[in-house]
């Protein structure tokens, strides 16, 4: 409480610029207005659009006809930080070690800069108990397995899954599971587990064989790509998870993304998504400011294909694209980039809790432990401090409630180096959304596989 009072419940009151409240954009259908408050999208007549342009450029007053959109009613996000909500998901770093040694790995092969270690069973069970104890009555819960490579702790993953399912049901919850794995050691028994329980399995993928093996060799030098294909075969034959996604890590050496995307889609994943490396133990692999413009260009190239394919009624599971257009359709607006420290926490091998799986063992993000409970003060402090309306330069950015202020892990390590990239990507997806809604309105009304949800 003292901390909150010091910080204050509201952000500073200095006016932000008009351009931070709205963005004008065009699609094949004409002019549109994106209003930051509530992430609302409107179609505008051309003459209104001209006046809005003048206004946003600071050369005129706000056009009368859009005033009701801009100032009608209280703001949806008013600067008050979220009080720590009940827990909805938790991840277990069951194995802080890995059988691969990818230079770009944020987790430093799971060690997070420390020593390799495995989570004891009593800590894992206590973590599940902690999630249930601090959740809302009847809420749907998610338990995630992270690492390192979680399947190196195979026995634990199996036992915890069954325990969590039993314990959650006894307490009136349903529970889903998420695991992030390199799939190189997956067994038929694992596949059956993933099929029996509602699992979202995220697989690390770098691209076609030659590309993946150039950055991701097994420790013994063998081909990780071949092991991955074998793993996919095991899933195909012994049990496919409800949702199978590929996570492609983009490094400074990734090159064009479209071939990688198409390769992943060809492998039969339900979703293929890119994640750019901004923080890496090997700084040479991390993307820098100069890499951002080419990255955006490559992402948009993929996005254009997705727009064309989906617009033509075909499936094209480019995760970043589908997530973005669906969020824009729903008008997702949030003052945080993710649920870290709010409804989501991550436990290390000792049972200490951190804001998320990428911030494991970072004392600045310590949030209690699984035995004594979450540290509400630390969570409240985190939520008060990381509210996007309190951030500079976020609070004057039109994209702030779509972006949420950027990944805590990346921002704390690298600062905000990717803002132009994020804005560029959102500008593209706004346009793509407007066009897709015209060509495929049904695309937004069907249940979307992405809604099955992951951890945060």
């Amino acid at each position: 409480m003292t901390v909150l009072l010091q910080i204050g419940r509201r952000p500073p009151d200095e006016p932000v610029t008009d351009a931070s409240h709205a963005r004008l954009f065009r699609s094949a259908g004409g002019a549109h207005l994106f209003v930051a408050d509530g992430s609302r999208v409107y179609d505008l007549p051309d003459e209104t659009a001209e006046r809005v342009r003048t206004w946003l450029d600071g050369a005129g007053a706000m056009p009368e006809e859009i005033a009701p959109l801009m100032t009608g009613g209280p703001p949806r996000i008013d600067g008050r930080p979220l009080d720590p909500p009940p827990l909805a998901s938790i991840s277990l770093n069951v194995m802080q070690s890995c059988n691969m040694s990818c230079g770009y790995c944020y987790a430093d092969e799971g060690r997070f800069g420390g020593r390799a270690r495995a989570m004891p069973e009593e800590v894992a069970f206590a973590t599940v108990d902690r999630l249930i104890a601090e959740s809302a009555p009847g809420a749907d819960l998610v338990v995630g397995f992270m690492g390192g490579e979680p399947l190196l702790a195979r026995r634990l993953v199996h036992r915890v899954t069954r325990y969590a399912d039993r314990a959650a049901r006894a307490a009136g919850h349903t529970v889903r599971f998420a695991v992030t794995t390199n799939l190189t050691t997956v067994t038929p028994e694992d596949a059956r587990l993933f099929a029996e329980f509602p699992f979202t399995v995220s697989v690390s993928l770098d691209g076609p064989a030659e590309h993946q093996d150039s950055v991701r060799r097994m420790r013994d030098g063998s081909s990780s790509y071949q092991r991955l294909r074998t793993g996919l075969d095991v899933l195909r034959r012994h049990g496919r998870p409800r949702h199978l996604s590929a996570r492609v890590t983009v490094t400074s050496r990734s090159g064009p993304l479209l071939p990688i995307l198409e390769h992943g889609i060809g492998l039969g994943f339900d979703e293929v998504g890119f994640s750019a490396v901004l923080v890496s133990p090997d700084p040479a692999l991390a993307l820098g400011p100069a890499d951002m413009a080419p990255l955006l260009e490559r992402m948009v190239a993929c996005g254009e294909v997705a727009l064309r394919e989906i617009g033509a009624g075909r499936r094209y599971p480019f995760g970043n694209f589908e997530t973005a257009v669906h969020q824009i359709h729903r008008g997702t607006h949030r003052p945080y980039p993710c649920g870290a420290g709010a409804g989501y926490l991550s436990a290390n091998a000792e049972g200490d809790l951190y804001a998320c799986h990428r911030l494991i063992d970072d004392h600045a993000y310590a949030m209690g432990d699984v035995t004594a409970g979450t540290d509400r003060t630390a969570r409240a402090r985190h939520l008060a401090a990381s509210h996007v309306d309190r951030m500079e330069p976020c609070r004057s950015c039109w994209a702030r409630y779509l972006c949420g202020g950027g990944c805590h892990h990346e921002v704390s390590r690298r600062g905000r180096v990717a803002c132009d990239y994020i804005r560029g990507w959102l500008a593209f997806t706004l346009r793509a959304y407007a066009e897709l809604l015209d060509t495929r309105p049904d695309y937004f009304t069907i249940d979307h596989p992405l809604d099955t949800g992951g951890l945060v």
Binding site: G38, V41, L44, G172, Y433
Partner: protein, 620 residues
């Protein structure tokens, strides 16, 4: 697509942001597009049940529309129809349905095979003016030969020709009735209260006890109930919320068909009688934590005991009101929240407002207790209890709102777990006694109502004092409590205290008089008393802001037995008020004089009113 020609909301939040303006002011009760009046104020079928003068029609049926009543006067009665001819079914209706329609083109609607709602839709379409109605036994003519008008009523309508055709036994075979469609509004534009008694128009809406509560699914917001729930222990998902069998383990599984579901459910009479067996549902899960209280079992009291207890309880309400007022004044908050308050001021003001509103409740309780006493023929009770509560025995005391004092208030207001404990517990016993003994309490209905009001409000106080704790949490008592000086420092303060006391006396004197007169006071004094109360409050705030304790000195005159306004009492009050005002104005500046001026008008009106009433009712 080409460019938009107007601003159009595209995504979901933009669409949800659209302001729905509601119905225009010209909307009339019969403007609804279907049986639900826009806004669900009532069911249109209930409004149209008297669309034909002299008949009552029931549309809530699956087999058509039935005539269920014939008025003693009007065309149907003139044509010999009586209640003995009922039921009759509506076979056809005819009349103009569009403004541009000629009289000759007015259509006839056959009602054969239609359900009640469908018949009603035809009736609803009939415009004001001449209409025709074909009635017959049974739910509709089944063969062409049984249609005596050949499918067209318009000839009868145009000739204004009515007839009732009976068989040899005198049974109605068919009846054609022609009259002007009934108007629903009386000359003042109000739905005629004689035609529609209470409950008639809302019958069959989605509230509990009514037809559609059972029938409407959760997707229809008005029913505000779930369809599918999880059992309270969380073990059995997907149960039918309205299932009749609420004891079997496991509970009966929900059925996939509408017929199967309805078979499982409480039927209409069961739901009306037993709706309270349906549990509270939180997050789709039934809760067994909320249960009906156990039946009350308390010893009955005699009429004298009831009067004695109520006389005492009124003094407790008075004492609590003053204690809470004092606690309110002890908080360092202005009477009105300034334009842009800081967080501290906002929180203290919120706490003070909450405490004040509870004090106001206690004043209302004082009023209700006294109104109950008047109904019992007992004199008003305006004293102030020296000790509070029976089991909570504690002396009356003016204390600032320290954390300890707040904890004590919460304790006083905690809902009674055991009958007869706490302040509201005493009312429970009174309520039970009065409720059970109409022989002892001829005014039972009114008294029970007053006692129930007091009990219900008490429950809320507990939560509101707890909220006060929330408002003040984290603040240092030294930071939110005013510092009071022991003695008034100057003459102004002394006179201010005197003015406050005189306002308190005026208030109690007026209350004594108005309670004694009861309904005869015509509510005039209550309004004046309220003004006296605001003056007292204002004066006390000025006092408190200067760091001086309000005294709430209880005048002996209002508690002594005897006539409500003995000779000279009102005149004495008028003199005291005047001298208190003058003395205060003499030592004060412009601000003080303005306050005196404001209050003087109220005082004079109050005294005037009291004098008039004492005169009229010879109360001296």
């Amino acid at each position: 697509m080409t460019g938009a020609d107007k601003i159009y909301p595209r995504n979901l939040t933009a669409r949800a942001d659209h302001q729905v303006r509601g119905n225009p002011a010209s909307t009339r009760p019969e403007s609804g597009v279907d049986n639900c009046y826009p806004g669900l104020e009532f069911d249109q079928r209930n409004l149209d049940k008297q669309f034909f003068p002299g008949l009552v029609v029931e549309f809530h049926r699956n087999d058509g529309a039935l005539i269920t009543g014939v008025a003693a006067t009007g065309l149907p009665a003139e044509r010999g129809l009586t209640a003995a001819d009922l039921p009759l079914a509506v076979w056809a209706v005819g009349g103009r349905t569009e403004a541009g329609q000629s009289e000759a083109a007015a259509p006839t609607f056959s009602c054969t095979g239609l359900n009640g709602l469908e018949v009603w839709r035809r009736v609803h379409d009939l415009m004001p003016g001449r209409i025709a109605l074909l009635l017959g036994p049974g739910p509709g003519f089944s063969s062409p030969g049984s249609d005596p008008v050949g499918g067209n009523l318009n000839g009868f309508r145009l000739q204004n020709r009515s007839l009732v055709q009976r068989d040899q036994a005198g049974r109605v075979e068919a009846a054609v009735l022609v009259a002007d469609r009934a108007r629903y509004l009386d000359p003042d534009g109000v739905i005629d209260p004689d035609a529609y008694p209470p409950g008639e128009l809302t019958r069959s809406l989605c509230a509990p006890w009514q037809f559609d509560f059972r029938d409407c699914g959760c997707f229809y917001w008005a029913a505000s109930k779930p369809d599918i729930v999880t059992s309270s222990d969380g073990r059995f998902p997907n149960l039918n919320f309205q299932r009749r069998d609420r004891t079997s383990v496991p509970p009966p599984a929900d059925q996939p068909t509408m017929a199967g579901r309805r078979e499982q459910e409480l039927d209409y009479p069961e739901l009306i009688l037993d709706w309270n067996v349906l549990p509270v549902v939180v997050n789709d899960r039934e809760s067994d934590a909320v249960a009906a209280p156990p039946p009350v079992d308390v010893p009955e009291m005699t009429r004298d005991e009831v009067i004695e207890e109520l006389t005492y309880l009124a003094t407790v309400e008075h004492a609590l009101a003053v204690e809470y007022l004092f606690a309110h004044l002890s908080l360092d908050a202005p009477m009105r929240l300034p334009e842009s308050p800081d967080d501290r001021t906002r929180r203290i003001h919120a706490a003070a407002t909450e405490v004040f509103s509870i004090a106001v409740d206690e004043m209302r309780h004082l009023r209700w207790a006294n109104e109950a006493l008047t109904l019992l023929g007992a004199p008003p009770s305006l004293g102030r209890a020296e000790r509070i509560g029976r089991s909570l025995d504690r002396p009356f005391a003016l204390e600032p709102l320290t954390p300890e004092q707040l904890a004590w208030f919460i304790e006083v207001e905690r809902p009674s777990q055991v009958i007869g404990t706490g302040v509201d517990g005493m009312y429970v016993r009174l309520h039970t006694t009065v409720d059970r003994r109409p022989d002892l309490f001829p005014d039972r209905e009114r008294i029970v109502h007053l006692l129930k009001l007091i009990i219900d409000e008490g429950d809320d106080h507990f939560h509101r004092f707890t909220a006060v704790q929330g408002h003040l949490a984290g603040l240092d008592p030294a930071d939110y409590l005013r510092e009071f000086v022991e003695k008034p420092a100057d003459e102004l303060a002394v006179q201010l205290q005197e003015l406050a006391d005189q306002n308190y006396t005026a208030l109690l004197t007026a209350l004594r008089l108005t309670f004694a007169l009861g309904d005869a006071a015509g509510g005039l004094l209550i309004e004046q008393s309220r003004r006296a109360m605001f003056n007292l409050h204002e004066t006390n705030h000025v006092l408190a802001a200067r760091g001086i304790l309000p005294r709430f000195a209880l005048p002996a005159s209002v508690t002594q037995p005897g006539p409500p306004a003995p000779a000279g009492m009102v005149a004495d009050l008028a003199a005291s008020l005047r001298s208190a005002r003058d003395a205060f104005a003499a030592v004060g500046g412009p601000g003080e004089r303005a306050l005196v001026l404001r209050q003087a008008a109220d005082h004079e009106a109050l005294v005037d009113q009291m004098l008039r009433l004492t005169d009229e009712h010879d109360l001296g």
